[in-house]
Subunit: 455 residues, 2 copies
Amino acid sequence: MKDVLDYIEKNKQAFVDELVALLRFPSVSADSAYNEGIAACAEHVRAKLVSIGLSAEVVETAGHPIVYGEWSNPANSRTLLIYGHYDVQPVDPLELWDHPPFEPHIDGETIYARGAADDKGQFLIHLLAVEAFLKTGGNLPVNVKVVIEGEEETAADNLEGFIKQNRERLKADGVVVSDTAMFDHGVPAITYGLRGIAAAEISLSGPGRDLHSGSFGGGIANPATEMARIAAALHDEDYHIAIDGFYDDVEPVADWERDAFGVLKFDEGDYLKKTGAIALQGEAGYTTFERVWARPTCEVNGIYGGYAGGGGKTIVPAKAGCKVTMRLVPNQDPEDILRKFESFVLKTASPAVTVEVVSQGGAKPAIVSRDSFLMAAGTAALERGFGREPVYMREGGSIPIVNVFKEELGLDTLLLGFAQHDDNIHSPNEKFSLADFHRGIVTVAHFFDEVGRPG
Amino acid sequence: MKDVLDYIEKNKQAFVDELVALLRFPSVSADSAYNEGIAACAEHVRAKLVSIGLSAEVVETAGHPIVYGEWSNPANSRTLLIYGHYDVQPVDPLELWDHPPFEPHIDGETIYARGAADDKGQFLIHLLAVEAFLKTGGNLPVNVKVVIEGEEETAADNLEGFIKQNRERLKADGVVVSDTAMFDHGVPAITYGLRGIAAAEISLSGPGRDLHSGSFGGGIANPATEMARIAAALHDEDYHIAIDGFYDDVEPVADWERDAFGVLKFDEGDYLKKTGAIALQGEAGYTTFERVWARPTCEVNGIYGGYAGGGGKTIVPAKAGCKVTMRLVPNQDPEDILRKFESFVLKTASPAVTVEVVSQGGAKPAIVSRDSFLMAAGTAALERGFGREPVYMREGGSIPIVNVFKEELGLDTLLLGFAQHDDNIHSPNEKFSLADFHRGIVTVAHFFDEVGRPG
């Protein structure tokens, strides 16, 4: 490892130059005016993979191309799938940028450019760590398969098609992704779990048309009221979810996790400021971190019924409805939860309205076991890269590609994020810390080393 | 009375001819293309009033004119205000009419034309009853003030302005209006009560903007859920309204009313067919007639919050709201009810959301006491005109002009409707029974006679 670490130290400036070069490509995926920038960036990444010793190709898709590369040594016991994306968010509103978004600007230890943190600066960390191994000993302790896509910032699913068509080729032992943030400045994090999701829509019908609420109000059921009664019944007084059997398969928050989340600094004032809420609220008996990372939820994303325009309209509405997504935790299964949701809604609804529940599918929660080599290696690597133990986090959302890796390839994904929450991703003046860029390369080199050790 | 009744009998055909003449005016108030028809109709009504012996004028307003007429004899003890409207609904879709809407078509005992039932055929009944008195004995047992407006089918409130500016001139002992329906074919009705109304809108704010339901769901309050919890709390399990003190001033349904409503034929299948509902539902312990006529309600006219478009959107919405109207019965006061509503909502809302309740005013319930001369006279008159006792009804809606008469002039209004529920008012092929037209004239003549008797 010494040669590897020396190489990283010696090439500190060269690596920054490489980042600058990568950031110059205007690879905005959502706007076809940038198709040239996308194509050039894909080719640049392919060339980089080849230059450091991988076999690599640009895979054309129905949308933007995927860059795929791999390197293996039969002596290695493990294979890592490294995922990233070379496309970036649009730059509007351009006038709010202090410097042109595709002319990287360095101020002290910070680099400003579109894509700096999301995700060019982060996936490049992995390529440079690979380079450090291959350019020193000519070997890498793990086999690597690199997938850098160009449609992460769009709704396209060409990557999913690529994965489905290349299940054999993409065989690996685990996935590592750097596309998230650290817990805080100077505080590295292991993000080892994502919540799953299950979505459904409830539709209620009452009268055949909107009726005059004077002439008919009181005589027949009001679907808006009935919708409210169902939506209200989803939680009890303590904000536990009241759907029968909803918690049957929920893995309780483990003691070690409670401890791990408990040591994380939670600044209530800052959280309220960030969300704009006037108070915290959630399931009784759990902290905010536990509530959003490790406990399931049932959120009304939208409720509607009757008249919502200006002024008033004296009607008993004909219809009402509500869109719900439930965030799931291990070992809840979206299909099972959707069945329980439907049963609960049908049971709860007034017999005087017609109720329909349409399940819209979902995704399983994803978690890396504490015993997994990914988590052990990540922990050890971050300690070496940042000089302090990482904190253990989960993420409340679902990252679709992580579910695809799990569903299609059977692989767990570890999220080793090196960005900060205030890096302005998706906003003007996106930035990335060059110190963390450097520490990230050191960390990932150690990660490869750890993963490569006989388990 | 014999001369009066003979006159009515003798002029049966002449009165039908008068109705046909009145129906020929295309007095659509909502479309300025018909302004000429409106003006000509107003002048026709004024001329009719003069021809039967009233002093009358066409009163110009900011919109369509009001026809005002009066006749008095100092010997009379009571004055009746007679209200009607000469404007009619639009005729679209014209292709669905079997005969041109302004070329009255008579088929047996039925006349087809726009305005036949709503309201030309009905207000003309009153003018012809006045005529029968004045053309026989030259006297009328009551003083009459006649207001026939031209904007009932629009949202204009020029009539309200006219009433406010003419409080002295319009002084009377009661109002009679024929602009509603009988209970059924052959079953005359006294409609002696209208529900009041109180309107409010609830607005909830949670996070400062729609938040990602994965990252934040579970940690903060969801305004759509909280809105549902408030809307659901408005009623208890038995659909009694749960607002504290809501029923404090409610006059219980009197035994005689329960009996009166109880004898009315209620066809559940027909009611469900008419409303399109799959079942009846309402406050426990009351019949449908009691629920919609004599009990207050709290209806959600609209509920909204978050995403209501196609597909889904995984958000914790920033805002939600709900529009509510409460129908009131004697002796509930809209201002008092709105205060109680607001207190209840504020008490019920989660402290983790910001809640605002905006009261949008209301109107008091209107009821004619059983002891009122209007009700006694109406009952006696209908018995004579239709050969059977009338049934006693209330109406669940609020008729704004009735509230104006009450608020501005302190007058109760009796609704003596001669139309049928299937007369296609506001629809193609509007019709009116010529038999009921005739019986109506006889009834109103008796009504004048009854009202004129020393009380």
